[in-house]
Structure formats: C-alpha cells, structure tokens
C-alpha cells in the first residue's frame, strides 16, 4: 500500500489554479523527488500533502486514509516536515531545537535524549549541540532543523508507515553536506520510510531518487525513473534551457550538464 497517495488533486486559490490533475503515489521505502522551475507549484503541492492547504478537488491519503481519520498527534508521529525557511529567532541551544522534534511523543526524557543525540550525529552536527541556534550559520541551522525532523520520526509509528518531507533541504549546504543529508534520507528509506524531496539540483535528484515528478505550471509534465524523466527534450520544454545528458561512468545514472 502507498504511504502517500494523491488522486486527481487540484488546488485553486481565489480563482487562480495552482495545481491541476495531480496523481502521485509514494510507496514505503521509496524516495520521490519533485522538480520544476520556480512557480511550478512545488511548494503548493507540499502544503496540500502536509494538510496545510485543503485540496479543492481530489484526495490526499496518508497510509490509506484522509486527514480527517488521523488525529493531529498521530499525523505528527508519521509525518516529519522540513520547511524551506525557519522563523526561529529565540536562542534555544541546538540540542533544545532537536528535542522539539519529540513534542508529539511520550517516550520519556532519557530515550528522547538518546534519539536527539543520534539525530544530531546523523546530520554531522553533534559539535553544535550547546551552541545557540541564533548564532549558527545558515547551513548549520538547516542541519539542526533536519535533525529535529529526523528525531520526530526516528522510530516506527504504531499508526502507519512514516513519511519524511523535505523542502529544498540542500539549498544552503556545501557539497559534502548535501550528499550527507540525502544519504541520511536514503538510510531512513532503507528502514521503510517514504521520502518526498523538493530539489532544484537535477543531478542530486538523479543520483538519489527512485522516482522523479517534474512539475510545470501546476501539472505533472513528466514522471518516472531518473532515466525516463531527465531527457534533453523534456528539460528544454519545462526549463527552457539546452542541456546535454550523459551517463555517469560508475553509477550509470543520468548526469545533466
């Protein structure tokens, strides 16, 4: 059964159509990447997936049920969401920020501390644990926020399979940390967690995604494996740029140049 299943979704706000006829399935253990130019509707789609915006028509099912079926706590135990920007401007320590990820759980202080420590390790940020969040660099903040979301869905939920949603998680990271964050997402997928990532970097998407959905003007322009989607004609049509696509000499995935 799909962890996330979107059927004939459309979204319009004040008469403007933002999303149209979106069908999307994410299975357990699968990494799905959403690509597309600015304004294609990527963020709107994430907002509908996370139940921040109600769908105008169609339905969004989490583990086979609409959002009405799940309590807010149950949903928080299954779905971790990393937003693109963080508003936090109070001087929590990094460890306190990560610990906020345990808000929907009742596992007790010692287990929470263990999980937060492990989550900080997973994003290579243990050394930041006692630093004030407000004094971290942009990339450090993003890693600490990711650790918070990882801590939130660290353990399997009794209600259903987990899903991790990342909105441009690599935007302010250096190369090494970009790779590391996506490798962490892959590890989580190995445990059965579904992963949805909005990315801008086509090559990162090609390397880590099982499936790519290419959005353009609110509808799905192309979908499938990286090989199926990343083709010269498709990219020319959606992004209006001329590219060459070659095969990576070792991994065989497409590389866009």
């Amino acid at each position: 059964m799909s962890v996330l299943s979107i059927k004939q979704l459309s979204l319009s706000i004040n008469g403007a159509s933002l999303l149209d006829d979106i069908n999307l399935e994410v299975a357990s253990g699968e990494i799905v990447t959403i690509l597309g130019p600015n304004g294609a509707g990527k963020t709107s789609l994430l907002k509908v997936i996370t139940h921040e915006l109600p769908a105008s028509t169609g339905e969004v099912l989490l583990n086979g049920h609409t959002s009405q079926h799940w309590s807010q706590i149950e949903q928080a135990q299954m779905m971790g969401v990393l937003p693109q920007h963080s508003l936090l401007n109070f001087p929590f320590s990094a460890a306190e920020v990560v610990n906020l990820g345990r808000t929907p759980h009742d596992t007790g202080l010692s287990r929470d501390t263990e999980i937060c420590q492990a989550a900080l390790q997973a994003v290579d940020a243990e050394h930041l644990r006692d630093r004030a969040y407000t004094q971290l660099s942009g990339g450090e903040k993003q890693r600490v926020q990711l650790a918070r979301v990882l801590a939130q869905i660290w353990e399997p939920s009794p209600s259903g399979e987990r899903i991790l949603i990342l909105d441009e998680p690599t935007s302010s990271l250096d190369l090494a940390h970009q790779q590391q964050i996506l490798a962490t997402a892959s590890d989580l997928a190995q445990q059965g967690c579904a992963v949805v990532i909005v990315l801008h970097d086509l090559n990162l998407a090609a390397r880590f995604a099982d499936k790519i959905f290419l959005l353009s003007c609110g509808h799905i322009a192309a979908q499938g494996t990286p090989e199926q989607v990343l083709q010269t004609a498709v990219i020319k049509k959606v992004f209006d740029v001329d590219v060459h696509i070659i095969q990576h000499p070792e991994t065989g995935v497409p590389v866009v140049i």
């Binding site: 921040e52 807010q72 135990q77 109070f90 929590f92 929907p104 004030a132 004094q135």
Partner: protein
C-alpha cells in the same frame, strides 16, 4: 552560551520571594521590627490588637499578597504573549487589554463620579469592573479583527492591537478633555498603577482569578516551545495551533484584565520580566513561565515596598517604581545580549 541552570534560578527565586515578602511586611512609614513579626506569627491567634498587628493584618499583608498575585499574573501573561507572537518585545498590552481597561476605568471615573462620592470603596469597585470589561472587550475585538476563516493571523493581531490601542488612547484623551480637574487627577493616578487600594476583598478576587490563570498558563510550555519554530512547524509537531491561540488569548485577557482592574496600569512587569528571565536561562517555556511568575511577584513586592518608603508618608505610584528599578537592569542586560545568544 553563558546561562544559569534553570532549576537553580527557580530555587533562588523562591528564596528571594520569601525574603521580599518579609521585607514588604516590615517596611513602610512605620517600620516593624522582625521580632514583632515573629511574635505575631508564633501567637497565630490574633488576640492582641496592638497597632503593629493591625498594620500587618489589615494593611501590609493584603497588600503584599496582592502584589505577589498581580506581579506573577502580569509576568507570566507577558511570557505567554511573547511566545505566542514569537516576539521578545510583545507584552499583554499588545492585544489591547491594557488600553481597553484604561478606557473602561476612565469612563467609570467620569460617569460614576457624578453620582458616587469619589473616595468610597463602591466607586473603586465600579472602576475595577469598568477596567475589566473594557480590557476583555478590547481583547475580543482585536481577536475578532485578526480572525478569518483560515485561522487567526498573529501579525494582523499585532496591527489590530496597535489600532485599538490608538483608538482607546483617543477615547481616553477625549474623556480627560471633558472632565473636571479632580477626576483628571484620579484618572492619571489610576493610570500610573498602585497597590494602595489593597484589602482582603481584592486579595480574594485576585486569588480566585489569578492563581488559576498563572497555573494554567504555566502548563502551555510544550505548545509555546513548538510555536517558537513557526505556526506550521508547530502544526506538523501535532499542536492544535488555533485552539492553543484561542485559549492563551482568553487566559491572558482574563488575567491582565483582572490585574489592571485591581491595581491600575503597572507598566514594565509583563514586558521586561520574561525578557530578563529568558536572557538568564534561555527560552525554554518549561522554566521560563514559572520563573517569570516568581520574578514578577518579587519585582512588584519590592517596588511597592520602595514606593511606600521613599517619600513616606506619601506614596509613589508603583508603576513609576517598577520602571525606575527595572529599566536600568534591562538596559545592562541588553548591552550584554551577545553573551546570552540573543543575536
């Protein structure tokens, strides 16, 4: 980061509160020796009617208790508002409570003054009721203005609060303009805030409202911590954001409305106490809320003691003292804010 352990701060604050309580009881125009206080406490049946016993039981004790309740209520409300608005400079007056209360009180002084003798306890009671109604009405108005079918917008609420405060200020000036000199003085004394009207009835009213409000607000630490991340993040962490907002605003309007009704406008406690506590132990509301309540109670107790002593036998308005005591401390903390991770 250079912070105190929160548990240590809370224990020190409890000790300080006890010390401040004793100081508030023994100091005043008539200073009472500690031995007399000890004698009064040990022979708990208040059989002797010496002058000191009367001063303590009828004047200073209710006054000190009222200071504790109002100080704690104002400070914890301020901490909750700062968390809800994600703004360390927010205070309860932002939701219009204080300015609404001011108009309510002025209306009662002006309208009531013509048919009530000005100093009777009845008229003080009607001023308090006017202040409470005005405060709660303004908070409801601000909340309604900021609420649309999509939820309550915190930034709209901030702006609506400013608009209502401006409107209330204008109404208040209008009342002052048309009133007599005598009432003008009453209004402006009330605006400065004071505990001189303390009696056991007021302590009872304060206890019935402010103790539950303070305890309930202290239980919102989890949602308030999550809200600091942002509203949608809090929602993703399983917090019912709209419900929490509604409940917090109701509790703050009730608490601040009651505090203002009983003691007038006491500036500074709700704004600066949480800020100082946050600089000392960090923003975790689990400790911030109770520590703010304790620190607010201490500040108001000491400020009131100072207000009674400095120009005895006349009293200064306590709001003036809270500002004079607190502002320099606050400024020195601001100057060292980098050490506390505030930038």
């Amino acid at each position: 980061m250079n912070r105190l352990a929160p548990q240590k701060l809370i224990i020190s604050l409890i000790a300080l509160l006890l010390a401040a309580f004793v100081i508030a009881i023994i100091s005043g125009p008539t200073s009472i020796p500690l031995s007399d206080l000890a004698a009064l406490v040990s022979s708990s049946a208040a059989s002797d009617n010496s002058q000191h016993t009367i001063i303590i039981t009828q004047l200073r004790l209710p006054r000190a208790l009222l200071a504790i309740l109002v100080g704690a209520g104002l400070a914890v409300s301020g901490a909750a508002m700062q968390g809800l608005f994600r703004n360390p400079l927010a205070d309860p007056s932002l939701v219009g409570v204080s300015s609404g209360a001011m108009v309510g009180a002025s209306l009662m002084i002006v309208a009531g003054g013509s048919w009530l003798s000005s100093s009777s306890s009845l008229s003080l009671g009607t001023v308090a009721i006017g202040a409470f109604l005005g405060g709660v009405f303004a908070a409801i108005l601000v909340y309604r203005l900021a609420t649309s079918p999509n939820g309550t917008s915190v930034s709209t609420m901030l702006l609506a609060g400013i608009a209502i405060t401006a409107l209330a200020g204008a109404l208040n000036h209008l009342l002052e303009f048309y009133t007599s000199n005598d009432m003008l003085r009453q209004i402006s004394l009330w605006k400065m805030g004071g505990l001189d009207s303390a009696n056991w009835v007021r302590v009872q009213v304060a206890a019935v409202v402010l103790i539950p409000v303070t305890i309930l607000l202290c239980r919102y630490s989890k949602p308030l911590n999550a809200l600091l991340l942002g509203e949608s993040e809090a929602r993703h962490l399983g917090i019912s954001v709209e419900r929490v907002k509604r409940q917090l605003i109701f509790l703050v309007a009730l608490g601040v409305g009651t505090a203002v009704a009983l003691t007038g406008l006491i500036a500074f406690v709700g704004l600066v106490i949480p800020h100082i506590v946050r600089l000392l132990i960090g923003p975790n509301h689990r400790y911030l809320l109770p520590a703010s309540a304790l620190a607010g109670a201490i500040l108001l107790l000491l400020a009131d003691a100072v207000a009674r002593v400095v120009i005895a036998p006349t009293e200064l308005p306590v709001g003036v003292v809270t500002s004079i005591l607190g502002a320099p401390f606050f400024i020195s903390l601001l100057r060292h804010r980098r050490e506390y991770g505030m930038e």
